[in-house]
């Protein structure tokens, strides 16, 4: 999606404090109309005008896909992050106007599945809320296993457990609980699709174990938005635009390109979708590939860079933008 295209003007309708770390924001269309339909697993990019900087962070939608009057997202405050979540927690209030992107879904449920197995950790629950509402409405078979530190911290755990009874299993990791991955993975009927969202370690464990147990790759789905990592500042030449941009240490290359007024495509801003792939014209130095979109061979070839999360160290980088 390019700048200016597919944007939505919304008003912050409600802000709820779910836990000291998690706030839920609900948005309605500024013109009072219906918001575009979305399906479970979709995210929007929220634009945050934070002083000089325009931040854009992806958040999964967690409202009911059947209700076009509202969107909702949950934001976990990340003290160590680059400031997007702090902005949402500290500056965003009811009645404020925001610009968000159209919903994009990179984590949809597979309609061919005979059963949907959802594994969530912490704030990774958010994309599963609309999934579950959708699956329950369609009468589809599903089962959620949800690891949280404590029940109070388990945003939405109570509500889901109350509404969906024995299809929802909540584990408090502070009490030493946690889902028994091997038992769960070895007792699913044929045609089950597995979805995992949560901390990186959990995603890696689940994918690895499922593959060892013989789950076909096409039955395993995950979503992980990578936050752009800070690093040393550097310069990049944009060959087509004929300009050089400075990338500050807490800025992503994509953000630097946008700040220079150059259009660049993106969908996830988290190294997952492939939309921001940019050809490298010449490179004297090392590209720090932080995405999980390019294959290892592609990363090694140095011919492409995912500008939303990857950085550069060295003498000179020229990209086709």
């Amino acid at each position: 999606m390019n700048r200016g295209e597919g944007k939505l003007s919304v008003v912050v309708d409600r802000v709820d404090t779910i836990t000291p770390m998690i706030k839920r924001f609900s948005f309605r269309a500024r013109d009072g109309g219906e918001l575009p339909r979305f399906s479970g697993g979709a995210h929007v990019i929220v634009e945050m005008p934070d002083g000089e900087i325009l931040r854009r962070n992806p958040y999964s939608l967690m409202s009911d896909p059947a209700d076009p009057s509202r969107y909702a997202i949950s934001v976990r405050r990340d003290e160590a992050g680059r400031g997007g979540s702090r902005f949402m927690h500290e500056k965003v209030r009811e009645g404020m106007e925001l610009t968000i992107s159209m919903p994009v879904n990179m984590f949809p449920s597979d309609r061919r599945a005979r059963k949907h197995l959802l594994l969530a950790g912490g704030i990774g629950i958010t994309p599963f809320v609309p999934h579950i509402l959708e699956l329950a409405a369609a009468g589809a078979a599903f089962e959620l296993h949800y690891n949280v530190r404590t029940r109070e911290q388990g945003a939405y755990a109570e509500d889901l457990a109350r509404r969906f009874g024995d299809r929802v299993h909540v584990y408090e990791t502070d009490l030493g609980e946690g889902f028994d991955l091997d038992a769960i993975l070895s007792d699913q009927p044929l045609g089950t699709h597995l979805y995992v969202c949560g901390p990186k370690g959990m995603i890696t464990d689940v994918i690895g174990r499922a593959s060892e147990f013989g789950w076909p790759g096409q039955n395993v789905h995950y979503e992980e938005f990578l936050a752009p990592q800070p690093g040393k500042p550097y310069q990049v030449e944009l060959a087509r635009s004929g300009i050089t941009v400075e990338v500050a240490s807490h800025q992503s290359l994509l953000e630097a390109i946008e700040a220079a007024g150059v259009d660049a495509p993106y969908l996830c801003r988290g190294g997952a979708c492939g939309q921001c792939e940019t050809a490298v014209v010449s490179c004297d130095g090392q590209i720090l590939h932080n995405d999980h979109y390019l294959t290892d061979e592609e990363k090694a070839s140095g011919e492409k860079i995912m500008v939303c999360v990857s950085r550069f160290e060295g003498r000179r980088l020229v990209i086709d933008r």
Binding site: P189, E212, Q218
Partner: protein, 200 residues
């Protein structure tokens, strides 16, 4: 073009041991060799989790079955026909769990039937492991009378049900596990080319 460049023609691979909680392996005739070759790469304990189904072909050497039996599968079954093999797979898969791998090697007819049974049980066809061995004989469905002609080796072929002369297309239906046969001399019966052995 009726025959070339049709995408639905199945693509077969080479069997290799996959990670899995259990394995169902179906071999027909020469397919036994594909299983024996896969066995060389199999990790310890692989066959203890395996159910092996063998369909001997007419005139098969008896040592083929012996070779397979010697692999020490948890269960070994010899059945009379590809249809029996597909039925056995369907039964095994009825209560199977995710992590069950299905391997099938032999003629296209056998592969088609087993893939169909596994798909019906909920396994995506892309995750079923296949290797073509033996005759290229095809299962052909006549588009006119819907009858299935087994073991087709010639092009064209006479439908064993309605007697029309059929051109065997590369168009393959996974649902019925058969290639499509279309009448080739509908305008002027009897003008079809002479059948040639194409699928040996």
């Amino acid at each position: 073009m009726l025959v070339e460049g049709i995408k639905s023609r199945p693509v077969y691979g080479v069997l290799a041991p996959q990670p899995g909680l259990s394995h169902i392996i179906v071999a027909e005739g020469e397919g036994a060799e594909a299983v024996l070759r896969m066995a060389e790469a199999a990790p310890a304990g692989f066959f203890a989790k395996s159910h092996l189904i063998f369909v001997p072909r007419g005139g098969d050497r008896p040592d083929r079955a012996d070779g397979l039996r010697a692999l020490g599968a948890a269960d070994f079954q010899s059945v009379g026909s590809p249809a029996d093999a597909a039925a056995a797979v369907a039964t095994l898969l009825r209560d199977a769990k995710m992590g069950t791998q299905v391997y099938v090697t032999g003629t296209e007819g056998l592969i088609g039937l087993v893939v169909q049974a596994a798909e019906t049980a909920g396994i995506d066809h892309a995750s079923i492991h296949t290797e073509h061995r033996g005759s290229m004989a095809r299962r052909v469905q006549c588009v006119h009378c819907k009858g299935i002609t087994e073991n087709v080796t010639t092009q064209p072929v006479k439908c064993s049900h309605c007697g029309l002369t059929l051109l065997v297309r590369d168009h393959y239906s996974r649902r019925i596990g058969a290639f499509q046969g279309v009448c080739i001399d509908a305008e002027e019966p009897g003008t079809a080319p002479r059948p040639e052995e194409l699928f040996k």
